[in-house]
Symmetry: C2
Subunit: 243 residues, 2 copies
């Protein structure tokens, strides 16, 4: 039997939730791994199974864990390509949804501009890596992105040809740099396109575009990537349910 070290004034299911969340943040398990069965956690921490279930329920509701009846409870692998589809409707001529192709225009080490440093929570001027890329659908540009990464974590990216690695960056971060994106915050705005991005996206002057700024974090909440994406407003559609 183990003790839950956290604040004893909190409910025990809360303490267990926090304990598990901390272990997950510290990579005790990898995505796809099972956490111990509920009965094992109950006896380890001297709790009833009902209390353990309440702790696990909370992490399931947060999207961190995933139950599979009869199999176990697993660390969830975030599915970020779906986030693009949350905002933009990219469809092939057939009406089918497709992941846009990726074309890396540049990747270079730079000093962090103020807005990037603030996003990533680092010192202005610290070493960062800046990637500029286009997303294309049937050879037509649909999204222009600038992607900023803390330099010391992502050095390996500078030594490969990203254009040979498939359209999604997060699996590359994991494979090459061991960095796992677990959550993100996105901020949406709309504006008239500036000349640089208008040119990249082949849009007329002052055409309306949607801008998405994303801050991606690992399980511990540490910022891993700050990204700004520009897309033609025509492709953009977003739906919310409110109560």
């Amino acid at each position: 039997m183990n003790a839950l070290s956290a604040d004893a004034r909190l409910p025990r299911y809360q303490q267990l939730r926090d304990h598990l969340a901390e272990q997950i943040a510290n990579n005790r398990w990898r995505p796809g791994d099972a956490i111990p069965p509920e009965a094992a956690l109950a006896s380890e921490f001297d709790l009833s199974v009902g209390t353990v279930r309440k702790a696990v329920d909370a992490l399931v509701a947060e999207g961190v864990l995933e139950r599979q009846q009869g199999r176990g409870t697993f660390i969830r692998r975030p599915q970020f390509q779906s986030s693009l589809f949350r905002f933009f409707r990219f469809e092939a001529a057939t009406g089918e949804r497709v992941v846009p192709q990726s074309r890396i225009l540049s990747i270079e080490p730079l000093s962090a501009p103020a807005v990037v440093a603030q996003g990533l929570g680092i010192e202005p001027g610290a070493g960062v890596i800046c990637i500029v890329r286009l997303r294309l659908l049937e050879a037509k540009p649909v999204l222009a992105e600038e992607i900023w990464l803390p330099g010391q974590l992502f050095q390996p990216l500078l030594e490969v040809d990203l254009n040979t690695q498939g359209p999604l960056l997060y699996p590359i971060y994991e494979a090459l740099c061991g960095q796992l994106v677990a959550s993100a915050e996105e901020t949406l705005t709309a504006e008239a396109v500036d000349p640089t991005h208008g040119h990249l996206l082949q849009l007329p002057d002052a055409c309306p575009v949607v801008v998405i700024e994303r801050l991606a974090r690992d399980y511990a909440g540490k910022p891993l990537e700050w990204r700004r994406s520009y897309g033609h407003a025509q492709h953009f559609r977003y739906r919310v349910d409110i109560r």
Copy 2:
């Protein structure tokens, strides 16, 4: 003791959730009313309190009910003015958040255009009421709205001066027509402003605007209002968290 009539193959907490949701949809209680205590529900339906709690938990998670420890569990009154602030940043010169003023430009009975009929789930050409209004901040227009209501439910609106009734419509729907908005779906798009709305909002030609289409429903899921709002993109900012 009462029986839960629903599908007996469903878990009992699910059956109770559905039963309560149906009663709420049928206005057995009004917003602010308490549902029976958990112990009373348990004995009425011959369930343990734990099972009742699970049913109530589900409705709390859906935003339909609200618990208050020591007091009871209450029907939640939806707070829709906050929905505006979800998308648009309206701030007074002081930086304080304010509810924009409302100016009704017109209200008239019409036949439903196709897009409106589809939104409201009625026949094209059926009787509807169309309201056009401006929302203003410090006398400057910030939002232009067209609001479509099923005619037979909202006749009383035609007999009052809406401009004397405060800036929020939903309390007026409730007070004058007995119709209670419980949930809504909103779809966000961005485009260059058309001349009509550009004029209303005092914007230059083809200025980028954000368009929000909202379908509001009562507790039973019946469509009550279809609305399209236009706002200058400059005021617009929306934030999402993703896992």
